[in-house]
Symmetry: C2
Subunit: 352 residues, 2 copies
């Protein structure tokens, strides 16, 4: 494992249980019927426990979209050709994608990180060029990535989280784009949860019934090919993708800097499975947003013990669902940090 | 019916079905797999149909909290004494309530409107003093309000919506506060939906089992007392409250000015039942936010044919749940108005 990753992992501690309890106690003193903010109360207490204060504050928000190509597209697993990945990066940089619209309305910074697009993308102020390889190899023919590539991609994600946290980021989200990437995400999900391929493979960008059956066979074949997986990072190398590895590093980086980070959909949550398998305390820093239409997403969230905030049948990725949850998390934090207590408001505090 | 209300009702037309279809067609051309934004796509098309353009824009947002007292508190239906209503108004004006924290994080203006608090509240820049009466009468002894009071309260809500729309408000939410107001809301819900009291009465701010049984009996008795209800506004007068009447007028005003308006919880949605009974086209302008813990809220939303966006077990009111949905509605609108088409992005548009 590379040194920055080892160093970050060594710094991760779980969220503060005492602060969590203190935050819930504070909620009971605020000017509202006890418990009347429902799930927001526990959500705000989790944010408090992450930040180590019963008055959590969310100021700068950012979403990072990690982008890479996938050798497994050669097996016909996507409704779109591989070239769309590079085209979508240009669309992100021109401001025309869904994540651009949603990040802007959420008041969040958007950073695009190329860790493995099979094209020359040039330079752009909104792009980090950190290409590890021009896409992965086809996991049906052998490991998708070498261990070195995997750790380098993790390192890029780690660097992104650490950089944003150092710049004052108090709420992060990890998104992704990469034609073909629901297939490695499904393979990783099957490996980490023990579920069958058919329970975690979905239609991705929109394959038909035949395409779905082909995807299931590809995942089954990949799992059979890579039976000798040694550890979580080996699973990531053999079955994963460069943007998925970067997302795993990103989640580790968020935990190492005690920054709450919002999960998006199926691919981002596959990366979270890896990160939590490497270091279970990462889980304390992860906040679920939506429940994706991809059937494996529910399996992943249940494995992580996380409950989504909403279900809009999204299946786009890019961090879109995560950014939609930003306002809810900000509201939860503000309820805890900004509301007056009954005593402060000179209202009869004993009224129940 | 008062003249401004009659005039507003005469101006209401349904949302534009052609624009709705055009918006969904536009979504299919945007740079994402068709349908991949799930429920956001239909949501954005509803906003488009309300604004009459396939590129809806949300700029200024506002939440109005209508406040009043209730004579039915004499029947012991609330966990809190009536005096808390005035105390909470002072808390709103001092910035210490949940709606203050949530409106601020959502970037929404907050306006507090006194239509019937049983206290002298003085003047404050954030307060509209439009007191119609010092609370309602106990609906167990006769009508809660006269027809004149009811129409005057509706007129205040109408004025609030029209004023905010004239100031450029493009997304509104109606909230409320008034100790005892889940009881009139339950009575109205039973009357408008035909459900039994026991199916629509909940614990409100937190009554115990005995209090719940008492609330059910009070609502049953009120419905028996007022069997001769003539029309929706008569039901509102006999069973409602001043802030509920104001909210009904507010929803009518939003529809008359073609402004989308977000429902909050059980009390606000009771007011929506009244508004839609008076003019069915009002429904096109209503957007559901959360599903409340109050059991009658689901009954109301089903009656209106609206699906909530999320369920956080909220039971606070004040507009809190509605304001939490603002970011999601803004994101939906922005996805439709700001994303590039495949043609604009020079991506292969025929790729499916």
């Amino acid at each position: 494992m590379s040194n920055p990753l080892t160093e970050a992992l060594s710094r991760i501690v779980g969220a503060d249980d005492g602060v969590y309890r203190g935050a819930l106690e504070r909620h009971a003193t605020l000017t509202k019927p006890p418990g009347s903010l429902g799930r927001l109360e526990a959500l705000s207490a989790r944010l408090a426990a992450v930040q180590g204060t019963v008055k959590p504050t969310i100021t700068n928000k950012a979403v990072v979209v990690f982008v890479a190509d996938h050798g497994v597209t050669a097996a016909g697993v996507s409704a779109y050709p591989k070239g769309v990945t590079a085209g979508m990066v240009r669309n992100f940089l021109a401001g025309g994608a869904a994540i651009n619209a949603l990040a802007r309305t959420a008041g969040a910074e958007l950073l695009v990180v190329d860790v493995g697009v099979d094209a020359n993308l040039g330079s752009h102020p909104g792009l980090w060029s950190r290409k590890i390889a021009r896409g992965t190899r086809n996991m049906l023919d052998g490991p998708a990535m070498t261990r070195t590539e995997t750790e380098a991609a993790c390192g890029v994600g780690l660097e992104a989280a650490q950089t944003l946290a150092a710049q004052g980021g108090t709420l992060l989200a990890g998104g992704e784009m990469g034609i073909g990437n629901t297939t490695p995400a499904a393979a990783l999900t099957a490996w980490f949860t023990g579920c069958a391929a058919r329970d975690v493979v979905g239609r991705g960008t929109g394959v038909d019934d035949e395409g779905l059956a082909r995807k299931i066979r590809v995942v089954e074949q990949a799992l059979a090919t890579h039976q000798g997986v040694a550890d979580p990072l080996d699973a990531l190398a053999r079955l994963g993708g460069l943007e998925i590895a970067a997302l795993s590093g990103f989640f580790i980086g968020a935990a190492a800097t005690r920054t709450p980070v919002v999960l998006d959909g199926f691919i981002a949550t596959a990366a979270a499975l890896v990160a939590v398998a490497v270091e279970p305390a990462v889980k304390d820093y992860l906040f679920a947003s939506h429940l994706s239409r991809e059937p494996g997403h529910r399996v992943q969230l249940e494995h992580l013990g996380l409950e989504p905030l909403f279900d809009f049948d999204l299946r786009l990725g890019e961090g879109t669902g995560a950014v939609l949850a930003f306002g809810i998390l900000e509201g939860a934090a503000a309820s805890l940090s900004e509301m007056a207590t009954f005593t402060e408001a000179a209202l009869q505090g004993s009224l129940r």
